[in-house]
Symmetry: C2
Subunit: 360 residues, 2 copies
């Protein structure tokens, strides 16, 4: 039996649950606000599409003024290349013969840039470019996030020189995913590295920073040339906590149904970790209820959310439709094959999440 996807014009309240529902006007406003900010501070925008995974939103970001997109994995980039996005940065170490063969194929058909933080990764990448069409590589730098990346400007220089020595690669610049609020650390690392590179005679046209939580502080990195941010297209509770937006800027919520009210203080929703994710992001609740701000989602099973209503003056009834505001929106959209867009409470379109599950 086919799934009961709503037709355009359907009232939002009639949409099946659990379902991510996305406000068209807020998405458009978020795209415009980010691009206006980037234009104002003189950074090129390269939005990270891992948040939405949707071709039509990537195109909207390009139309607003973005120079290209950022993907986190090779197969994610392939999905977007297949629908016409032709300038893609993959901010991930790509390793292994099978992946490198596909990377080589992708490099023949779009303007592709990748990253590396070790000699091992560079050696693999060198097999994916050609002398006629070198693969562009940025050196990933760790500016305090303690994830990937070379940890000193000296290491960045050494890896850049190694990249530049390969005729099938082109050293194209440096990138970082900063720690929370670490704008000053990024600027210091970039400036020192640029000095070392210049002294060594290496051009460094791209200095790529990113991250939604501190996007409004991005002007504090005059050495950066481009900015990658994903979450800010939808926003979420972590963005509100970071001071990067208000609740009115949240474009995505998960529409759910109250399926049980076993006690006066407890409600159960038809959405668990397989719809909302277990991502606490440092909060003490697995998301907030838009209609009942005092409610707390205290535990998740795979298909149930248990809600503590003890602080709520009014309380939902069995069968009532409510909306969960995610702590972290990016992994939520990855759980659904399709998402529903709406305008003013009326469905506008149902869109396949084209790059869902592209973790390879």
């Amino acid at each position: 039996m086919s799934f009961p996807w709503p037709d355009p014009g359907t009232p939002l309240a009639d949409v099946i649950t659990p379902m991510p529902v996305i406000d068209e006007a807020r998405v458009a406003a978020n795209i415009a606000a980010v691009q206006a900010h980037m234009d104002k501070i003189g950074l090129l925008a390269r939005p990270h599409v891992k948040t939405h995974k949707l071709p039509h939103l990537a195109r909207a970001q390009i139309a607003a003024g973005a120079i290209g997109i950022t993907c986190q994995k090779l197969t994610e980039a392939e999905v977007f290349a297949d629908v016409g996005l032709d300038d893609i940065l993959i901010t991930y170490n790509i390793l292994g013969a099978a992946r490198l063969r596909r990377l080589a194929a992708l490099n023949t058909r779009i303007d592709l840039t990748v990253v590396a933080d070790s000699a091992e990764v560079v050696a693999g990448l060198a097999t994916a470019g050609t002398v006629d069409r070198p693969l562009r590589v940025l050196v990933e730098c760790d500016t305090g996030a303690n994830r990937c990346g070379v940890t000193t400007p000296d290491q960045a220089l050494a890896l850049a020189q190694r990249i530049a020595a390969h005729p099938t690669l082109r050293f194209h610049g440096i990138m970082t995913y900063p720690a929370k609020g670490g704008v000053a650390e990024v600027e210091a690392f970039f400036r020192q590295t640029m000095g070392l590179l210049a002294a060594a005679g290496l051009d460094c046209p791209v200095r790529s920073a990113g991250g939604s939580p501190h996007i409004w502080q991005a002007g504090g990195m005059p050495s950066a040339t481009e900015y990658r941010a994903g979450t800010c297209i939808y926003n979420d509770r972590a963005q509100v906590r970071a001071g990067a937006c208000t609740l009115d800027d949240l474009a995505l919520s998960v529409q759910v149904t109250v399926v049980s009210r076993p006690t006066p203080d407890r409600a159960v929703l038809d959405a668990g970790s397989k719809a909302l994710t277990n991502d606490l992001s440092g909060f003490d609740t697995f998301g907030a209820l838009a209609e009942y701000p005092e409610a707390r989602i205290v535990s998740l099973s795979e298909e149930h959310a248990v809600v503590d209503l003890s602080a709520c003056a009014t309380r939902p009834a069995i069968g009532e439709i409510v909306h969960v505001l995610p702590n972290h929106v990016c992994p939520v959209t990855n759980l659904f094959d399709r998402v529903v867009f709406h305008q003013g409470g009326v469905v506008t379109r149902v869109v396949p999440v084209a790059a869902r599950g592209t973790v390879w």
Copy 2:
């Protein structure tokens, strides 16, 4: 470009990462051990398929002696009905006109049983059965898990009487998902409720308990007639912690690649929350590394796992293939379109996760 799925006979080490890889022999042994235990203690087995979501494993469980399967959502049950599973219990309150229409259709083609914990749910279910083919309903009971379920035997009796009063429904028994280790609480609740039902002249043929962590204590519930368990087909770290299995019984791991070694004490894996989930299940690490038991996965981004190697005597190299043992296996399989089975390190088959994403 099509995805590079491995052919049967491929060495496991050549399988793309990240990828759940499942040991055929351990799955078979886990199915057999659970069924032998159920036979020994005189409980009917009704495995919960939400863990594997795979038709061929549901059929293997039936072949071993299970009387039917348990599903958590309506669309999950539809997937299994479509491939021939004909005795299904859906342990979830089903609400809303669209869902109830589909439930009515499903009830015409398989032996279907559902649950209810409120008058509102019963009223809806009554529209999905017919006088000629009543829908079978169990009363869900809360025996300490604080999720769904009536909270007293008196409430169970009242709801059973309400179900029995509907000519389109048949009261068929009681079910519970117990709190951790709460075998005694289940037995007490079931026994009291059975007494009340008998006094009221209501037959209660099914008394359904479940849960993998305390499956080996299920003999402590002589009032129960059937048992639902999911995780025990694969097992995971939470099962080991519960004393329900050993590490040698874990049938599923996530094969990953070490993509970075930025410092002596840090490794980064090509699997983050979109491959492993953020499910800590009370642990202080997002899974264990089979090859490096002292390693700790201290943080996850969406596509990165950051591993603390400080306690490891030997340490993995960049490009090395390792295996993550999940804290909680069920939400992991839900993230992947396909999973890879192997026998002795050689791929046997690649199987679509037929019921992935069926949260409706």
